[in-house]
Protein backbone atom coordinates (compact mmCIF):
# COMPACT_ATOMS: atom_id res chain seq x y z
CA UNK A 1 0.00 0.00 0.00
CA UNK A 2 2.89 2.30 0.73
CA UNK A 3 4.16 1.86 -2.78
CA UNK A 4 0.74 2.59 -4.17
CA UNK A 5 0.48 5.73 -2.10
CA UNK A 6 3.83 6.98 -3.21
CA UNK A 7 3.01 6.31 -6.77
CA UNK A 8 -0.31 8.08 -6.66
CA UNK A 9 1.30 11.11 -5.07
CA UNK A 10 3.96 11.20 -7.72
CA UNK A 11 1.42 10.79 -10.47
CA UNK A 12 -0.85 13.45 -9.08
CA UNK A 13 1.93 15.96 -8.74
CA UNK A 14 3.43 15.23 -12.08
CA UNK A 15 -0.04 15.90 -13.47
CA UNK A 16 -0.58 19.16 -11.65
CA UNK A 17 2.97 20.20 -12.40
CA UNK A 18 2.25 20.64 -16.07
CA UNK A 19 4.92 22.50 -17.94
CA UNK A 20 4.27 26.11 -18.81
CA UNK A 21 7.54 27.09 -20.32
CA UNK A 22 8.82 27.52 -23.81
CA UNK A 23 11.68 25.27 -24.67
CA UNK A 24 12.30 23.57 -27.94
CA UNK A 25 9.11 22.01 -29.35
CA UNK A 26 5.56 23.19 -29.67
CA UNK A 27 3.30 20.37 -28.60
CA UNK A 28 1.00 19.72 -31.53
CA UNK A 29 -2.54 18.41 -31.33
CA UNK A 30 -3.81 15.76 -33.70
CA UNK A 31 -5.63 18.51 -35.57
CA UNK A 32 -2.43 20.51 -35.92
CA UNK A 33 -0.47 17.45 -37.02
CA UNK A 34 -3.12 16.82 -39.68
CA UNK A 35 -3.04 20.40 -40.91
CA UNK A 36 0.73 20.69 -41.02
CA UNK A 37 1.15 17.37 -42.81
CA UNK A 38 1.14 17.24 -46.57
CA UNK A 39 1.09 13.45 -46.36
CA UNK A 40 -0.43 11.17 -43.75
CA UNK A 41 0.53 7.56 -44.37
CA UNK A 42 0.79 4.12 -42.93
CA UNK A 43 4.19 2.71 -43.87
CA UNK A 44 6.85 0.14 -43.06
CA UNK A 45 10.52 0.93 -42.53
CA UNK A 46 12.47 -0.88 -45.26
CA UNK A 47 15.80 0.88 -45.21
CA UNK A 48 18.00 3.33 -43.38
CA UNK A 49 21.15 5.09 -44.37
CA UNK A 50 23.24 7.56 -42.41
CA UNK A 51 25.53 9.74 -44.48
CA UNK A 52 27.13 13.14 -44.85
CA UNK A 53 25.26 15.85 -46.68
CA UNK A 54 26.59 17.09 -50.01
CA UNK A 55 28.76 19.75 -48.35
CA UNK A 56 30.15 17.16 -45.94
CA UNK A 57 29.20 19.38 -43.04
CA UNK A 58 26.27 17.54 -41.46
CA UNK A 59 25.35 13.92 -40.79
CA UNK A 60 21.81 13.02 -41.79
CA UNK A 61 19.82 9.81 -41.53
CA UNK A 62 17.55 8.83 -44.40
CA UNK A 63 14.80 6.33 -43.67
CA UNK A 64 13.09 4.59 -46.56
CA UNK A 65 9.45 3.64 -46.16
CA UNK A 66 7.20 1.30 -48.12
CA UNK A 67 3.85 3.09 -48.10
CA UNK A 68 0.93 0.81 -47.30
CA UNK A 69 -1.92 3.30 -47.05
CA UNK A 70 -2.38 6.98 -47.79
CA UNK A 71 -4.75 9.04 -45.67
CA UNK A 72 -3.71 12.41 -47.02
CA UNK A 73 -1.60 13.56 -49.94
CA UNK A 74 0.04 11.67 -52.74
CA UNK A 75 3.06 9.99 -51.20
CA UNK A 76 4.93 7.75 -53.64
CA UNK A 77 5.02 4.01 -52.94
CA UNK A 78 8.56 4.42 -51.68
CA UNK A 79 8.98 7.49 -49.55
CA UNK A 80 12.08 8.81 -47.84
CA UNK A 81 12.32 10.69 -44.55
CA UNK A 82 15.26 12.88 -43.65
CA UNK A 83 16.35 13.59 -40.10
CA UNK A 84 19.47 15.25 -38.76
CA UNK A 85 21.97 13.13 -36.87
CA UNK A 86 23.07 9.53 -36.83
CA UNK A 87 26.27 7.53 -36.59
CA UNK A 88 29.12 7.17 -39.04
CA UNK A 89 32.11 5.25 -37.75
CA UNK A 90 32.82 6.43 -34.24
CA UNK A 91 31.23 9.82 -34.84
CA UNK A 92 27.76 10.20 -33.39
CA UNK A 93 25.54 13.21 -33.96
CA UNK A 94 22.73 13.41 -31.42
CA UNK A 95 19.65 15.56 -32.05
CA UNK A 96 17.14 15.34 -29.24
CA UNK A 97 13.58 14.79 -30.40
CA UNK A 98 14.30 12.88 -33.58
CA UNK A 99 12.69 9.51 -34.25
CA UNK A 100 14.62 6.25 -34.20
CA UNK A 101 12.98 3.91 -36.65
CA UNK A 102 13.66 0.21 -36.00
CA UNK A 103 13.96 -1.84 -39.20
CA UNK A 104 10.69 -3.34 -40.47
CA UNK A 105 8.64 -1.43 -37.94
CA UNK A 106 5.33 0.09 -39.07
CA UNK A 107 4.25 3.63 -38.43
CA UNK A 108 1.39 5.98 -39.00
CA UNK A 109 3.22 9.13 -39.99
CA UNK A 110 2.46 12.79 -40.44
CA UNK A 111 4.94 14.13 -42.97
CA UNK A 112 5.69 17.45 -44.56
CA UNK A 113 7.97 18.28 -47.45
CA UNK A 114 11.60 19.09 -46.81
CA UNK A 115 12.60 22.46 -48.18
CA UNK A 116 14.46 22.07 -51.43
CA UNK A 117 14.32 18.31 -51.71
CA UNK A 118 12.17 15.33 -52.58
CA UNK A 119 12.31 13.96 -49.06
CA UNK A 120 9.97 14.45 -46.14
CA UNK A 121 10.28 15.58 -42.55
CA UNK A 122 8.28 14.21 -39.64
CA UNK A 123 5.92 16.95 -38.45
CA UNK A 124 6.93 18.09 -34.96
CA UNK A 125 9.87 15.63 -34.86
CA UNK A 126 8.81 12.56 -32.86
CA UNK A 127 5.31 13.95 -32.37
CA UNK A 128 4.30 12.94 -35.88
CA UNK A 129 5.40 9.30 -35.67
CA UNK A 130 2.97 6.75 -34.24
CA UNK A 131 4.39 3.26 -34.16
CA UNK A 132 2.00 0.40 -34.98
CA UNK A 133 2.34 -3.03 -33.41
CA UNK A 134 0.24 -6.14 -33.02
CA UNK A 135 -0.52 -7.07 -29.44
CA UNK A 136 0.53 -10.65 -28.92
CA UNK A 137 -2.27 -11.67 -26.58
CA UNK A 138 -5.21 -10.27 -28.53
CA UNK A 139 -3.82 -10.04 -32.05
CA UNK A 140 -5.10 -6.48 -32.13
CA UNK A 141 -3.14 -3.80 -33.95
CA UNK A 142 -2.41 -0.88 -31.69
CA UNK A 143 -0.63 2.46 -31.93
CA UNK A 144 1.99 3.72 -29.49
CA UNK A 145 1.40 7.36 -28.76
CA UNK A 146 4.62 9.33 -28.91
CA UNK A 147 6.00 10.26 -25.53
CA UNK A 148 5.25 13.87 -26.13
CA UNK A 149 1.57 13.31 -26.68
CA UNK A 150 1.20 11.85 -23.23
CA UNK A 151 3.19 14.12 -21.04
CA UNK A 152 0.45 16.65 -20.76
CA UNK A 153 -2.49 14.37 -21.36
CA UNK A 154 -4.29 17.39 -22.74
CA UNK A 155 -6.21 17.96 -25.93
CA UNK A 156 -2.90 17.70 -27.68
CA UNK A 157 -3.26 13.94 -27.85
CA UNK A 158 -6.13 11.81 -29.07
CA UNK A 159 -7.01 11.07 -25.50
CA UNK A 160 -10.75 11.29 -24.94
CA UNK A 161 -11.94 13.83 -22.43
CA UNK A 162 -12.81 12.09 -19.21
CA UNK A 163 -9.72 9.95 -19.08
CA UNK A 164 -10.96 6.84 -20.88
CA UNK A 165 -7.47 6.47 -22.20
CA UNK A 166 -5.72 4.02 -19.89
CA UNK A 167 -2.23 3.66 -21.25
CA UNK A 168 0.26 4.79 -23.80
CA UNK A 169 -1.28 2.78 -26.61
CA UNK A 170 -4.64 2.72 -28.34
CA UNK A 171 -6.15 0.42 -30.97
CA UNK A 172 -5.05 1.31 -34.48
CA UNK A 173 -8.66 1.50 -35.67
CA UNK A 174 -9.49 3.94 -32.91
CA UNK A 175 -6.54 6.11 -33.79
CA UNK A 176 -7.37 6.00 -37.48
CA UNK A 177 -10.89 7.14 -36.68
CA UNK A 178 -9.53 10.03 -34.61
CA UNK A 179 -7.08 10.91 -37.37
CA UNK A 180 -9.81 10.79 -40.00
CA UNK A 181 -11.96 13.11 -37.92
CA UNK A 182 -9.02 15.48 -37.53
CA UNK A 183 -8.20 15.35 -41.24
CA UNK A 184 -11.78 16.14 -42.20
CA UNK A 185 -12.53 18.65 -39.48
CA UNK A 186 -13.52 22.08 -40.72
CA UNK A 187 -10.66 24.54 -40.56
CA UNK A 188 -11.41 28.03 -39.36
CA UNK A 189 -8.75 30.68 -38.91
CA UNK A 190 -9.73 32.46 -35.69
CA UNK A 191 -10.52 36.15 -35.66
CA UNK A 192 -7.53 38.18 -34.56
CA UNK A 193 -4.96 35.80 -36.03
CA UNK A 194 -1.96 37.76 -37.27
CA UNK A 195 0.15 36.33 -40.06
CA UNK A 196 3.35 37.99 -41.28
CA UNK A 197 3.55 37.51 -45.04
CA UNK A 198 5.89 38.23 -47.89
CA UNK A 199 4.07 39.34 -51.02
CA UNK A 200 5.17 37.17 -53.90
CA UNK A 201 3.24 38.41 -56.90
CA UNK A 202 0.67 40.88 -58.07
CA UNK A 203 -1.24 40.58 -61.33
CA UNK A 204 -3.05 43.56 -62.78
CA UNK A 205 -6.81 43.32 -62.80
CA UNK A 206 -7.35 46.84 -64.08
CA UNK A 207 -5.73 50.23 -63.73
CA UNK A 208 -6.03 50.43 -59.97
CA UNK A 209 -6.74 46.81 -59.05
CA UNK A 210 -4.34 43.91 -58.53
CA UNK A 211 -4.58 40.23 -57.64
CA UNK A 212 -2.08 39.63 -54.82
CA UNK A 213 -0.40 36.45 -53.65
CA UNK A 214 1.75 36.10 -50.54
CA UNK A 215 3.42 33.47 -48.36
CA UNK A 216 3.43 33.39 -44.59
CA UNK A 217 6.92 33.86 -43.19
CA UNK A 218 6.50 32.38 -39.71
CA UNK A 219 4.61 29.51 -38.17
CA UNK A 220 1.44 30.69 -36.46
CA UNK A 221 -0.38 28.77 -33.72
CA UNK A 222 -3.65 30.68 -33.17
CA UNK A 223 -5.00 28.04 -30.78
CA UNK A 224 -4.34 24.37 -29.91
CA UNK A 225 -6.47 23.24 -32.83
CA UNK A 226 -4.93 25.32 -35.61
CA UNK A 227 -1.47 25.73 -37.07
CA UNK A 228 -0.50 27.80 -40.08
CA UNK A 229 2.88 26.51 -41.29
CA UNK A 230 5.38 28.98 -42.69
CA UNK A 231 5.08 29.14 -46.46
CA UNK A 232 1.29 28.88 -46.56
CA UNK A 233 -0.10 30.94 -49.43
CA UNK A 234 -2.52 33.82 -48.94
CA UNK A 235 -4.42 35.44 -51.78
CA UNK A 236 -6.43 38.58 -52.15
CA UNK A 237 -6.97 41.70 -54.16
CA UNK A 238 -5.44 45.16 -53.85
CA UNK A 239 -7.10 48.44 -54.74
CA UNK A 240 -5.10 51.66 -55.05
CA UNK A 241 -6.64 54.71 -53.47
CA UNK A 242 -5.45 58.17 -52.45
CA UNK A 243 -3.82 56.80 -49.29
CA UNK A 244 -2.13 53.85 -50.94
CA UNK A 245 -2.93 50.22 -51.55
CA UNK A 246 -5.76 48.63 -49.64
CA UNK A 247 -5.47 44.86 -49.73
CA UNK A 248 -8.34 42.52 -48.96
CA UNK A 249 -7.16 38.99 -48.25
CA UNK A 250 -9.82 36.37 -48.88
CA UNK A 251 -8.19 32.95 -48.91
CA UNK A 252 -5.34 30.99 -47.35
CA UNK A 253 -4.03 27.67 -48.57
CA UNK A 254 -2.53 25.38 -45.93
CA UNK A 255 -0.81 22.36 -47.45
CA UNK A 256 -3.16 22.67 -50.42
CA UNK A 257 -6.29 23.05 -48.34
CA UNK A 258 -8.06 26.31 -49.18
CA UNK A 259 -9.71 28.19 -46.35
CA UNK A 260 -11.65 31.44 -46.74
CA UNK A 261 -10.54 34.34 -44.57
CA UNK A 262 -11.38 38.00 -44.31
CA UNK A 263 -8.53 40.38 -43.63
CA UNK A 264 -7.36 43.76 -44.77
CA UNK A 265 -4.02 45.52 -44.78
CA UNK A 266 -2.57 48.72 -46.15
CA UNK A 267 0.54 49.44 -48.21
CA UNK A 268 1.95 52.79 -49.31
CA UNK A 269 1.20 53.92 -52.83
CA UNK A 270 3.96 53.86 -55.36
CA UNK A 271 5.78 50.87 -53.98
CA UNK A 272 5.81 47.66 -55.92
CA UNK A 273 3.83 45.20 -53.86
CA UNK A 274 5.88 42.18 -54.86
CA UNK A 275 8.68 41.61 -52.37
CA UNK A 276 7.06 43.70 -49.64
CA UNK A 277 6.48 42.39 -46.13
CA UNK A 278 3.00 42.77 -44.77
CA UNK A 279 0.88 41.65 -41.86
CA UNK A 280 -2.44 39.90 -42.39
CA UNK A 281 -4.81 40.31 -39.45
CA UNK A 282 -7.90 38.11 -39.71
CA UNK A 283 -11.19 39.80 -38.89
Amino acid sequence: MRTRGLFLVAVALSWTGRPAHATTLVQLSLEQLSQAASEVICARVVGQETRWNELHTRIVTLTTLAVEQVFKGHAPATTEIEQPGGTIGNMHVHVAGTVRFPPQSRYLLFLEPSRGGPRYLVVGMMQGAFRIYREASSGQERVILPLGALIRGSSAAPIPQGGAMRGPTIPLQEFQRAATVALNAPLLIPRGTVMPVSIQCSDSRGVTRLHVGARTTTEVFPNPGVVIPAGSTVEGSAVRGPAGWSIHWDEISIRGRRVPISATSQMPAGASLAGQMNEVRVR
Partner: protein, 360 residues
Protein backbone atom coordinates in the same frame (compact mmCIF):
# COMPACT_ATOMS: atom_id res chain seq x y z
CA UNK B 1 24.21 13.03 3.30
CA UNK B 2 23.76 9.52 2.05
CA UNK B 3 20.52 7.68 2.04
CA UNK B 4 20.35 3.99 1.46
CA UNK B 5 17.33 2.92 -0.48
CA UNK B 6 15.66 -0.36 0.18
CA UNK B 7 15.84 -3.12 -2.33
CA UNK B 8 12.41 -3.41 -3.85
CA UNK B 9 11.17 -6.74 -4.91
CA UNK B 10 9.01 -7.77 -7.76
CA UNK B 11 5.76 -7.35 -5.88
CA UNK B 12 6.66 -3.70 -5.54
CA UNK B 13 7.05 -3.44 -9.28
CA UNK B 14 3.67 -5.02 -9.85
CA UNK B 15 1.98 -2.90 -7.23
CA UNK B 16 3.42 0.23 -8.72
CA UNK B 17 2.38 -0.74 -12.20
CA UNK B 18 -1.10 -1.65 -11.13
CA UNK B 19 -1.50 1.60 -9.25
CA UNK B 20 -0.69 3.47 -12.38
CA UNK B 21 -3.08 1.62 -14.61
CA UNK B 22 -5.80 4.21 -14.42
CA UNK B 23 -3.65 7.20 -15.19
CA UNK B 24 -2.72 8.16 -18.67
CA UNK B 25 0.10 10.27 -17.35
CA UNK B 26 1.60 7.52 -15.24
CA UNK B 27 5.20 6.49 -15.77
CA UNK B 28 6.13 9.88 -17.10
CA UNK B 29 8.83 10.61 -14.65
CA UNK B 30 11.90 10.34 -16.78
CA UNK B 31 14.31 12.94 -15.53
CA UNK B 32 17.75 14.14 -16.43
CA UNK B 33 19.24 12.11 -19.13
CA UNK B 34 22.86 12.38 -20.20
CA UNK B 35 23.64 11.79 -23.84
CA UNK B 36 25.20 8.36 -23.99
CA UNK B 37 27.27 6.36 -26.40
CA UNK B 38 28.47 2.80 -26.46
CA UNK B 39 32.12 1.88 -26.59
CA UNK B 40 33.49 -0.82 -28.87
CA UNK B 41 33.16 -3.22 -25.96
CA UNK B 42 29.51 -2.37 -25.52
CA UNK B 43 30.07 -0.25 -22.45
CA UNK B 44 27.80 2.72 -21.92
CA UNK B 45 29.67 5.98 -21.66
CA UNK B 46 28.26 9.42 -20.91
CA UNK B 47 29.19 12.09 -23.40
CA UNK B 48 30.87 15.13 -21.93
CA UNK B 49 33.20 17.93 -22.93
CA UNK B 50 36.88 17.09 -22.50
CA UNK B 51 38.41 18.97 -19.57
CA UNK B 52 34.88 20.16 -18.68
CA UNK B 53 35.30 23.15 -20.96
CA UNK B 54 33.32 24.52 -23.89
CA UNK B 55 33.83 27.64 -25.97
CA UNK B 56 30.90 28.95 -27.95
CA UNK B 57 30.59 31.48 -30.74
CA UNK B 58 27.57 33.55 -31.60
CA UNK B 59 26.49 34.69 -35.01
CA UNK B 60 25.03 38.03 -33.90
CA UNK B 61 22.85 38.41 -36.97
CA UNK B 62 19.15 38.21 -36.29
CA UNK B 63 16.19 38.30 -38.60
CA UNK B 64 12.93 40.20 -38.31
CA UNK B 65 11.52 37.23 -36.40
CA UNK B 66 13.60 38.16 -33.34
CA UNK B 67 12.04 41.05 -31.44
CA UNK B 68 14.35 42.83 -29.01
CA UNK B 69 12.07 45.78 -28.30
CA UNK B 70 11.40 46.02 -24.61
CA UNK B 71 14.11 43.52 -23.82
CA UNK B 72 17.82 42.92 -23.98
CA UNK B 73 19.82 42.33 -27.12
CA UNK B 74 19.76 38.80 -28.44
CA UNK B 75 23.47 38.53 -27.63
CA UNK B 76 22.83 39.42 -24.00
CA UNK B 77 19.99 36.91 -23.77
CA UNK B 78 22.28 34.23 -25.15
CA UNK B 79 25.11 35.12 -22.76
CA UNK B 80 22.69 34.97 -19.84
CA UNK B 81 21.31 31.64 -21.01
CA UNK B 82 24.81 30.15 -20.97
CA UNK B 83 25.58 31.64 -17.57
CA UNK B 84 22.54 29.93 -16.08
CA UNK B 85 24.35 26.62 -16.38
CA UNK B 86 27.06 27.93 -14.07
CA UNK B 87 24.58 29.47 -11.64
CA UNK B 88 24.68 28.52 -7.99
CA UNK B 89 22.54 25.80 -6.59
CA UNK B 90 19.45 26.89 -4.60
CA UNK B 91 21.50 26.69 -1.42
CA UNK B 92 23.97 29.21 -2.83
CA UNK B 93 26.74 26.82 -3.73
CA UNK B 94 28.27 26.20 -7.12
CA UNK B 95 28.30 22.50 -7.74
CA UNK B 96 29.64 22.09 -11.23
CA UNK B 97 33.11 22.44 -12.65
CA UNK B 98 32.09 23.29 -16.18
CA UNK B 99 33.98 26.16 -17.79
CA UNK B 100 31.89 28.01 -20.35
CA UNK B 101 33.68 30.61 -22.45
CA UNK B 102 32.39 32.98 -25.07
CA UNK B 103 34.58 33.00 -28.14
CA UNK B 104 34.69 35.60 -30.89
CA UNK B 105 31.58 36.22 -32.93
CA UNK B 106 31.20 34.11 -36.03
CA UNK B 107 29.63 34.56 -39.43
CA UNK B 108 28.79 30.88 -39.71
CA UNK B 109 25.07 30.29 -40.11
CA UNK B 110 24.65 26.52 -40.29
CA UNK B 111 25.68 23.56 -38.16
CA UNK B 112 28.89 21.80 -39.08
CA UNK B 113 29.28 18.55 -37.19
CA UNK B 114 33.02 18.31 -37.66
CA UNK B 115 34.53 21.80 -37.58
CA UNK B 116 35.05 21.88 -33.79
CA UNK B 117 33.33 25.28 -33.64
CA UNK B 118 30.27 25.56 -31.44
CA UNK B 119 27.99 28.10 -32.98
CA UNK B 120 24.66 29.66 -32.13
CA UNK B 121 22.77 30.94 -35.14
CA UNK B 122 19.46 32.73 -35.56
CA UNK B 123 19.92 32.83 -39.30
CA UNK B 124 20.39 29.29 -40.60
CA UNK B 125 20.23 28.92 -44.36
CA UNK B 126 17.32 27.30 -46.14
CA UNK B 127 19.28 24.06 -46.31
CA UNK B 128 18.59 23.54 -42.61
CA UNK B 129 15.10 22.08 -42.35
CA UNK B 130 12.85 22.69 -39.37
CA UNK B 131 9.74 20.54 -39.15
CA UNK B 132 6.61 22.41 -38.11
CA UNK B 133 6.57 22.93 -34.36
CA UNK B 134 10.34 22.87 -33.87
CA UNK B 135 11.49 26.07 -32.18
CA UNK B 136 15.20 25.29 -32.14
CA UNK B 137 17.50 22.29 -32.13
CA UNK B 138 21.06 21.36 -31.31
CA UNK B 139 23.33 18.99 -33.17
CA UNK B 140 25.75 17.42 -30.69
CA UNK B 141 28.71 15.49 -32.11
CA UNK B 142 30.37 12.90 -29.90
CA UNK B 143 33.31 10.56 -30.31
CA UNK B 144 34.02 7.44 -28.32
CA UNK B 145 37.74 7.53 -27.59
CA UNK B 146 39.79 4.60 -26.34
CA UNK B 147 42.44 5.07 -23.63
CA UNK B 148 45.44 6.96 -24.93
CA UNK B 149 43.74 7.94 -28.18
CA UNK B 150 42.94 11.41 -29.41
CA UNK B 151 39.48 12.58 -30.48
CA UNK B 152 38.84 14.43 -33.70
CA UNK B 153 39.19 17.86 -32.14
CA UNK B 154 42.39 17.08 -30.32
CA UNK B 155 41.32 15.92 -26.88
CA UNK B 156 43.29 13.02 -25.47
CA UNK B 157 41.70 10.31 -23.37
CA UNK B 158 44.20 10.07 -20.54
CA UNK B 159 42.08 7.69 -18.51
CA UNK B 160 42.22 3.93 -18.52
CA UNK B 161 38.68 3.48 -19.83
CA UNK B 162 36.85 4.47 -23.00
CA UNK B 163 35.20 7.88 -22.85
CA UNK B 164 32.77 9.76 -25.03
CA UNK B 165 33.88 13.30 -25.78
CA UNK B 166 31.56 15.95 -27.12
CA UNK B 167 33.56 17.51 -29.94
CA UNK B 168 31.08 19.87 -31.52
CA UNK B 169 27.68 21.36 -30.67
CA UNK B 170 25.75 23.77 -32.87
CA UNK B 171 22.47 25.46 -31.98
CA UNK B 172 20.08 26.84 -34.56
CA UNK B 173 16.94 28.84 -33.87
CA UNK B 174 14.09 28.40 -36.34
CA UNK B 175 13.92 31.53 -38.54
CA UNK B 176 10.23 30.79 -39.07
CA UNK B 177 9.32 31.21 -35.40
CA UNK B 178 8.87 34.48 -33.58
CA UNK B 179 11.24 35.16 -30.70
CA UNK B 180 11.47 37.90 -28.13
CA UNK B 181 13.89 38.99 -25.44
CA UNK B 182 11.24 40.92 -23.50
CA UNK B 183 10.05 39.92 -20.03
CA UNK B 184 7.47 38.46 -20.26
CA UNK B 185 7.40 37.35 -23.87
CA UNK B 186 4.56 38.80 -25.92
CA UNK B 187 1.84 36.38 -26.93
CA UNK B 188 2.99 34.34 -29.88
CA UNK B 189 6.70 34.85 -29.22
CA UNK B 190 9.17 32.38 -27.76
CA UNK B 191 11.60 33.57 -25.13
CA UNK B 192 15.16 33.65 -26.49
CA UNK B 193 16.76 33.06 -23.11
CA UNK B 194 14.67 30.08 -22.05
CA UNK B 195 14.92 28.42 -25.46
CA UNK B 196 18.65 29.09 -25.42
CA UNK B 197 19.05 27.68 -21.93
CA UNK B 198 17.32 24.49 -23.00
CA UNK B 199 19.42 24.11 -26.13
CA UNK B 200 22.66 24.82 -24.29
CA UNK B 201 21.76 21.98 -21.93
CA UNK B 202 21.89 19.73 -24.98
CA UNK B 203 25.18 21.28 -26.06
CA UNK B 204 26.63 20.48 -22.64
CA UNK B 205 25.58 16.84 -22.87
CA UNK B 206 22.02 16.51 -21.61
CA UNK B 207 19.14 14.93 -23.47
CA UNK B 208 15.49 15.70 -22.73
CA UNK B 209 14.03 15.29 -19.26
CA UNK B 210 10.54 14.00 -18.58
CA UNK B 211 10.06 16.28 -15.59
CA UNK B 212 7.73 19.09 -16.56
CA UNK B 213 9.41 21.69 -14.39
CA UNK B 214 12.90 20.98 -15.72
CA UNK B 215 14.55 23.29 -18.23
CA UNK B 216 15.31 20.18 -20.28
CA UNK B 217 11.63 19.29 -20.63
CA UNK B 218 11.03 19.44 -24.37
CA UNK B 219 7.69 21.20 -24.74
CA UNK B 220 6.33 24.65 -24.23
CA UNK B 221 4.14 27.34 -25.67
CA UNK B 222 4.76 30.82 -26.92
CA UNK B 223 3.85 33.75 -24.74
CA UNK B 224 3.66 31.73 -21.54
CA UNK B 225 5.72 32.31 -18.46
CA UNK B 226 9.37 31.86 -19.09
CA UNK B 227 11.57 29.30 -17.44
CA UNK B 228 14.98 30.81 -17.32
CA UNK B 229 16.38 29.03 -14.28
CA UNK B 230 17.45 25.47 -13.72
CA UNK B 231 15.40 22.96 -11.77
CA UNK B 232 17.06 20.59 -9.32
CA UNK B 233 16.85 17.95 -12.00
CA UNK B 234 18.86 20.09 -14.41
CA UNK B 235 21.47 20.94 -11.78
CA UNK B 236 21.81 17.29 -10.85
CA UNK B 237 22.25 16.33 -14.48
CA UNK B 238 24.94 18.93 -15.05
CA UNK B 239 26.73 18.12 -11.83
CA UNK B 240 26.57 14.43 -12.72
CA UNK B 241 28.47 15.21 -15.92
CA UNK B 242 30.81 17.85 -14.49
CA UNK B 243 30.95 17.57 -10.69
CA UNK B 244 33.20 19.87 -8.69
CA UNK B 245 34.86 19.01 -5.43
CA UNK B 246 32.05 20.38 -3.26
CA UNK B 247 29.23 18.79 -5.19
CA UNK B 248 28.94 15.62 -3.16
CA UNK B 249 29.55 17.41 0.16
CA UNK B 250 26.83 20.00 -0.43
CA UNK B 251 24.19 17.60 -1.63
CA UNK B 252 23.00 14.16 -0.82
CA UNK B 253 23.32 10.92 -2.65
CA UNK B 254 20.51 8.47 -2.90
CA UNK B 255 22.05 5.09 -3.47
CA UNK B 256 21.03 1.50 -3.25
CA UNK B 257 20.33 -1.58 -5.24
CA UNK B 258 17.24 -2.83 -6.99
CA UNK B 259 17.13 -6.60 -6.70
CA UNK B 260 14.89 -9.34 -7.98
CA UNK B 261 15.25 -12.83 -6.53
CA UNK B 262 18.55 -11.77 -5.07
CA UNK B 263 20.04 -10.48 -8.30
CA UNK B 264 20.56 -6.87 -9.26
CA UNK B 265 18.15 -5.53 -11.85
CA UNK B 266 19.64 -3.57 -14.71
CA UNK B 267 17.92 -0.38 -15.94
CA UNK B 268 15.19 -0.22 -13.33
CA UNK B 269 13.72 3.27 -13.16
CA UNK B 270 14.33 4.80 -9.71
CA UNK B 271 12.37 7.91 -8.76
CA UNK B 272 12.93 10.20 -5.77
CA UNK B 273 9.93 12.13 -4.45
CA UNK B 274 10.25 14.94 -1.91
CA UNK B 275 8.54 13.61 1.21
CA UNK B 276 7.33 17.08 2.22
CA UNK B 277 6.09 18.51 -1.05
CA UNK B 278 5.50 15.35 -3.06
CA UNK B 279 7.45 16.82 -5.95
CA UNK B 280 9.36 14.44 -8.13
CA UNK B 281 12.92 15.66 -7.70
CA UNK B 282 15.15 13.41 -9.72
CA UNK B 283 15.46 9.89 -11.04
CA UNK B 284 17.91 7.53 -12.63
CA UNK B 285 18.24 4.09 -14.17
CA UNK B 286 20.08 1.37 -12.31
CA UNK B 287 23.45 0.14 -13.50
CA UNK B 288 23.95 -3.38 -14.86
CA UNK B 289 24.48 -4.76 -11.34
CA UNK B 290 21.26 -3.19 -10.09
CA UNK B 291 22.92 -0.40 -8.15
CA UNK B 292 22.04 3.25 -8.48
CA UNK B 293 23.46 6.52 -7.24
CA UNK B 294 21.42 9.68 -7.62
CA UNK B 295 23.75 12.61 -7.17
CA UNK B 296 22.92 16.20 -6.41
CA UNK B 297 19.89 15.68 -4.22
CA UNK B 298 19.17 18.65 -1.93
CA UNK B 299 19.10 18.00 1.81
CA UNK B 300 15.71 16.64 2.85
CA UNK B 301 13.64 13.51 3.14
CA UNK B 302 12.66 11.49 0.13
CA UNK B 303 10.43 8.63 -0.75
CA UNK B 304 11.98 6.46 -3.41
CA UNK B 305 10.36 3.89 -5.61
CA UNK B 306 11.42 1.82 -8.60
CA UNK B 307 9.67 0.82 -11.77
CA UNK B 308 10.68 -1.59 -14.52
CA UNK B 309 11.34 -0.56 -18.06
CA UNK B 310 9.25 -2.29 -20.65
CA UNK B 311 10.97 -5.18 -22.39
CA UNK B 312 10.28 -3.54 -25.74
CA UNK B 313 8.40 -0.60 -27.12
CA UNK B 314 5.37 -2.77 -27.80
CA UNK B 315 4.96 -3.35 -24.10
CA UNK B 316 5.23 0.02 -22.54
CA UNK B 317 6.29 3.57 -22.65
CA UNK B 318 9.85 3.50 -21.43
CA UNK B 319 12.35 1.21 -23.06
CA UNK B 320 16.07 1.53 -23.46
CA UNK B 321 15.49 3.50 -26.63
CA UNK B 322 14.21 6.32 -24.48
CA UNK B 323 17.60 6.59 -22.86
CA UNK B 324 19.88 7.98 -25.47
CA UNK B 325 22.78 5.76 -26.31
CA UNK B 326 21.52 2.64 -24.62
CA UNK B 327 20.11 1.53 -27.86
CA UNK B 328 20.93 0.08 -31.20
CA UNK B 329 19.79 0.36 -34.76
CA UNK B 330 20.12 4.09 -35.23
CA UNK B 331 23.26 4.05 -37.29
CA UNK B 332 23.72 2.34 -40.59
CA UNK B 333 26.20 -0.17 -39.30
CA UNK B 334 24.86 -0.85 -35.83
CA UNK B 335 22.98 -3.94 -34.82
CA UNK B 336 19.25 -4.04 -35.39
CA UNK B 337 17.14 -3.38 -32.36
CA UNK B 338 15.32 -6.08 -30.53
CA UNK B 339 12.01 -6.16 -32.35
CA UNK B 340 9.37 -8.84 -31.80
CA UNK B 341 7.81 -7.94 -35.13
CA UNK B 342 10.80 -9.41 -36.90
CA UNK B 343 11.81 -11.87 -34.20
CA UNK B 344 15.21 -10.24 -34.43
CA UNK B 345 16.73 -9.57 -31.07
CA UNK B 346 20.37 -9.30 -31.85
CA UNK B 347 20.96 -6.20 -29.75
CA UNK B 348 23.02 -6.68 -26.63
CA UNK B 349 20.59 -5.07 -24.23
CA UNK B 350 17.52 -7.23 -24.15
CA UNK B 351 14.82 -7.04 -21.51
CA UNK B 352 17.25 -5.70 -18.93
CA UNK B 353 14.80 -5.76 -16.06
CA UNK B 354 13.70 -9.32 -16.72
CA UNK B 355 10.17 -8.07 -16.37
CA UNK B 356 7.50 -10.23 -17.97
CA UNK B 357 4.26 -8.88 -16.53
CA UNK B 358 1.89 -6.44 -18.16
CA UNK B 359 3.24 -2.95 -18.45
CA UNK B 360 0.88 -0.01 -18.48
Amino acid sequence: MAWKARAWRRRSFLAASAAGAGFSCALLLLAYNPIQDQSALGLTVHAHWPNAAITWELNPSIGPNVDTSGGTSASTAIQTAWSVWKAPYPNGQVLTAIAITQGPNTTLTDPNNADCQNIISFVPSSSVSFPTGVIAFTEVTTHVVSPGETSQCGAVNSTSAPVSFVTDADVVFNPHENFSTATPSPAGDFDVQSVGTHEFGHALGLDHSGLGHAIMFPFGDAGEGQQRNLAVDDVAGMAFLYPNSSFEAATGILSGVIALHGSGVFAAHVVAVDAQTGAVVVDRLTDPDGTFRILGVPPGSYNVFALPLARDSNSGLYVLDNFSGWTCGYGENSSPCCDPATAGCSGKLQNPTGYTGKFY
